[in-house]
C-alpha cells in the first residue's frame, strides 16, 4: 500500500531522513515511535506530499508520489495531480486543524462536496453517519471552538474519512489533548484499525502501539533503528537506543 525506497530528505544541510526503506501492506497498522526530532513526522508528511523528498521514491497504492515516469525521466506533477493523489489519503493532525468558521458537519462535508463534487444530500447523510460513529451525533452543529480537544480530533477523523480514503495518516493525534481525553480518540482509531483501514500512526502512546499495531517502527536520527511486531520491538528490543527510549516513556 505504501512503500518507501531509499527516501532522503534534507532541511537545509540537515539530513532528516537518511535512506529510509520500508513497506506497509494493505490493512496493516504501522506505528512509528521515537524521540522528537527523529524525523517521524516528516516521514509521515512525505507520504501525502506536505513535504517533498530529495531522494529515493515513495509509492502509494502502486503509483509513485509526486512524479510521473516517462521515457526514463521523472516528471514533476502538476499541483492538480498532486491534489488528486492526496484525496485517497486521509490525514489527522496534532492540532486538529479544523476549519473554525464551519460547524462540525460542514467541516466533514466540505471536501467531498467542493473537491469531489459529490451531491450535497448524499454527503450530508454520510457525514452525519460518520459523526455519529465517532460519538458526536449531538454535536454536529457546533463550531470547533465550542468543542473539547478530544471532540475536535474526532471531528477531524470523521472529516478525513468522509473522502473514503484507502490510507489514513495520524500525526501525533493525541499529543495536544488533556490526558483524560486521549482515550476517546484512541478508541475511534482502534475501531478504524479493526475495520481493516490501512494506517500509519506517529504516536507517543506506546500502549496503543502495543495493542493495535501490526508493525512498530522505532526511529531515531533520521533512520529506522528497528521495526517488527510490537511484541518484538516494544517487548524485546534488540538495540540499545530503543531500550533507552522505551525505558523513558514506559
Amino acid at each position: 500500500m505504501v512503500s518507501f525506497s531509499k527516501v532522503r530528505k534534507y532541511f537545509g544541510d540537515n539530513e532528516v531522513l537518511k535512506s529510509i526503506t520500508f513497506d506497509v501492506a494493505p490493512r496493516e497498522v504501522l506505528c512509528i515511535i521515537g524521540p522528537s526530532g527523529s524525523g517521524k513526522s516528516t516521514l509521515l508528511r512525505c507520504i501525502n506530499q506536505l513535504e517533498r523528498i530529495d531522494g529515493g521514491r515513495i509509492d502509494v497504492d502502486g503509483a509513485m508520489v509526486g512524479y510521473t515516469e516517462h521515457s526514463g525521466r521523472l516528471h514533476e506533477m502538476h499541483p492538480r495531480q498532486i491534489s488528486r493523489q492526496r484525496t485517497d489519503i486521509g490525514m489527522v493532525f496534532q492540532n486538529f486543524n479544523l476549519f473554525p468558521h464551519m460547524t462540525a458537519l460542514q467541516n466533514v462535508c466540505v471536501s467531498p462536496v467542493k473537491v469531489r463534487r459529490e451531491r450535497k444530500a448524499e454527503v450530508r447523510e454520510r457525514a452525519e453517519q460518520l459523526l455519529r460513529r465517532v460519538g458526536l451525533g449531538d454535536r454536529m452543529n457546533h463550531y470547533p471552538r465550542q468543542l473539547s480537544g478530544g471532540q475536535q480530533q474526532r471531528v477531524a477523523i470523521a472529516r478525513a474519512l468522509a473522502m473514503k480514503p484507502q490510507l489514513m495518516l495520524f500525526d501525533e493525534p493525541t499529543s495536544a489533548l488533556d490526558p483524560e481525553l486521549v482515550g476517546e480518540v484512541l478508541d475511534v482509531m482502534k475501531d478504524l484499525a479493526a475495520e481493516g483501514m490501512t494506517m500509519v500512526v506517529v504516536t507517543h502512546e506506546i500502549g496503543f502501539a502495543r495493542e493495535v499495531a501490526d508493525t512498530v517502527a522505532f526511529m531515531d536520527g533520521g533512520v529506522v533503528v528497528e521495526s517488527g511486531p510490537p511484541a518484538q520491538v516494544i517487548g524485546d528490543p534488540q538495540h540499545q537506543r530503543t531500550r533507552d527510549f522505551l525505558s523513558k516513556v514506559l
Partner: protein, 324 residues
Amino acid sequence: MSTDVSSGAETKAPPPLHLGEAPTVGLKHPSRWIAVLVVFVLAAMAVHSAITNPNFRWDLVGDYFWAAPIMDGLRVTLTLTVICMAIGLVLGTALALMRLSPNPVLRSAAFGYVWLLRGVPLLVQLIVWYNLSALYPRLSLGIPFGPEFVSFESNHVITAYTAAILGLGLNQAAYMAEIIRAGLQSVDEGQLEAASALGMGRLRTMMTVVLPQAMRVILPPTGNETITMLKQTSLVSVVAVADLLYSTQLIYAKNFQTIPLLIMACIWYLIIISLLSVGQYYLERHFKRGSSRQQHKSLWQHLRRTAALRRDTSALGTEGSTPR
C-alpha cells in the same frame, strides 16, 4: 483580644455580614458627577448657541437639503465611492496575492506598485490622471512594440470623471493590498495543510478556507477605508467633478452662505457614514461566526441583555450612586 474573651458574655460579637444578605453601601463618586455636570453644561452651551445664533441659518440648511444639484452631487459621491472601493478590493486582492506569491518578480512588482501609489499624494495622482493627455496625447491598444489595433485621443477617454475613478481606485488598491495581505497572513498555516491534505487546490483553499477566516481581520480596516474614501471623494473637486462637496461649493460661491451650506453637506456625510457603520457591524458579525465559544447576539439583543443585567444589579439593593 484578651478583653473580648473576658467580657464575652456581656457584649456578644455580631455574626459576620455576608454580601448579598446585608445592605451594601456603594462607593460615592463625586468627581464623576462633576465631570457629568461639566459635559452637560458644555453641551447645553453648544446646542443653545446653535439654536439662537441666527448666523447658522438653519432655514437655508433645510432649503437646500433636498435641492436637485445636491442630490446629483450625492449620487456622484456615492457612485465614486462604490466604484473606487470595488476597484480597490479587486485590484488589492490581486496585489496581495502577488505579494504572497512564490514568484519573486510578481512579489517585487506588487511591492513597487504599493510603494509608488501609497507614496505619492493622492491630490497629485488625481491631477496627473486628469492631465494624462499632456504625457500621452494618444492612447492605443495593440501588441507591445508591435502594430496598433485601435487608438483614441486621451482627452476623449480620460474625462474628469474617469480621472477621478482612476486616481481614487488605483490609490485605494495600494492600501487594500496591504490590508488584505495582513488578513491572509493571519490565517494559521495548519489550515493550509489541512486543506491540502483534503485535496483542495490553491484557489479552492483560498476561497473556502483562507478568505472567510481572513475576513475577520480584513473587514474592520476596510470599513474604515470605505468611510475615508467617501470623504476623500471630495478631493475630486480639483478636477471639477461635481460631487457632493463641489456641488455645495458651487451654490455658496453664488449666494455666499458658506457655513450653512457646508453644515448641510456635513449632515449628508454623517448620515451616509452612520448607515455604512450599521452595515459594517452586521458584516463583521457574519464573519465572526465560530470565533468564540458563545453564540453571537444582534445589536438589539445585546442592548436588551445589557439593560436586563443593569436591572438585576440595581435590584440587588446596592445603594450605588454611579450616574446612569
